[in-house]
Amino acid sequence: MIDNKLLKGDMRVLDMIASMPEIPVGSAFNIRKNGDKAARSVTENIDIRTKEDGSGIDIIVKAGTKGEKAYIPVLLTESGLDETVANDFIIGDGAEVEIIAGCGICNSGSCGSSHSGVHTFKIGKGCRVKYVEKHYGEGDAGTVMNPTTVIMVGEDSVFDMESSQIRGISSTKRNTVAYLAAGARMNVSERLVTHGTQDAKSDMEVYLNGKDSSLQIVSRSVAQDSSSQMFHPKAIGNTACSAHIQCDAIIMDTASVGSIPEIQANSAEASIIHEAAIGRINNEQLLKLQTLGLTAEEAEAVIIEGFLS
């Protein structure tokens, strides 16, 4: 069902946060705008239902589904909105699916707007799930996003998570918790840019509970102006498993970046590595690009673009 709540400007933001320049045909989607359902479509394999208590939606993917996408973007275009949404994703055994869930706040009013989304994934056995989440804000009145993601990755399933905060979010507190069953794999790619006086915090806890489960987290961030960032990824290995966490940050101007590495092995067969690096843009990199004819500012932009790619 599509109603007339979506404007041309909304499609521009939807393209930025969910790579959907137009309403997709043949894919499941649910577009939420200013606290209401603006558009929804389901397919034979992917059903989307409003929860009975109205707190959010359930996205149900049939077992054996192959190569389908589901778009679950959220738009806030009114000033002074403060909403919390709980969405559950139930993925049947053997399903291969991509879920795109961005959030865009365009707040041109005088009051701040905030969105707190709780996404819970219950992933069956032998699944392959890609979860893409982009956050973007514009406006001067303050935009707050506090996403919580809880993931239960079933046996021999793969969960790829790509999260990025593009620009314009005044404050974010990201909380991710995952539980990995035997043979499950989770790959997390996190990209974050903060500027102005923005503040971003990312807590992540991954429990590797099943034999031969594995985790990779690659976090890259750029902190500009006087913004601040804090990362706290934690891997807990409870059995024979492997985990690799890599946090890299470029710090600029008068920004501040913190990284708290925490790894916990509760089995002699757990192998867990954490790497963290924070530094300014390397002078040798700038020099190299300047010798190709780029100005210092152009060189800086190229380095950041590559770093976040």
């Binding site: 890259r220 990199q285 300047q290 590559g306």
Partner: protein, 239 residues
Amino acid sequence: MLKFENVCFTVPDTGAEIIKDLSLEVKDGEILVVTGPNGGGKSTLARLAMGIITPTSGKILLEGQDISTLDITERARLGVGYAFQAPARFKGLTVRRLLTLAAGGEISDSDCCKYLSRVGLCAADYLDRALDATLSGGELKRIEVASLMVRQLKVAIYDEPEAGIDIWSFNMLVNAFSTLGKEKSGALMIISHQERVMQTADRIAVVAEGKLRDIGAKGDILPKLTDIFQRECIKKQPK
């Protein structure tokens, strides 16, 4: 044509004199190999030409224009290029992106292939790879050399291009310099200790202790090199 005129360079912090009243010319269409003992000032000369450091006194001229006070970007846009001895690594920046930036615009895969092949690399294996720690020092160095060959330059400066390159790729590199020499598209200044690289030269300059010790045709300088180096070593021995 690139000309150093009575160039001096003193390190601001330590006062150490690295280049002492040095004059040297790299002519259009020629390959000038600059050689000499380690620490003699060869790389400093290259960095002065590129504008990474500025002469304490003296002038650097490009086709008669004084470029001594221009910054790196301005010199690059005028047609000066420099392949670093120890190239920088970049997280996320791909070989394709670097070659595109070097070319100053879109570059076809076949052109990328042409230049990467010259340094012994297969484009299909490398174009989408990042210039990060997953590349060996030798691979990175060869990409650095290719990134200079892509450019249309008035003066191309290669700082020890052979360093860290295996023997097979080295042969290709020497052939690439020979080809560039025949094309005579600009002036080439190559800092090198390798006799086979020197064999590609039209002229050889010997720089030691910040001074030009000798310069001349390859055939004149090469037979004298052993004697020159021995004299430099004797000078440095404690008396």
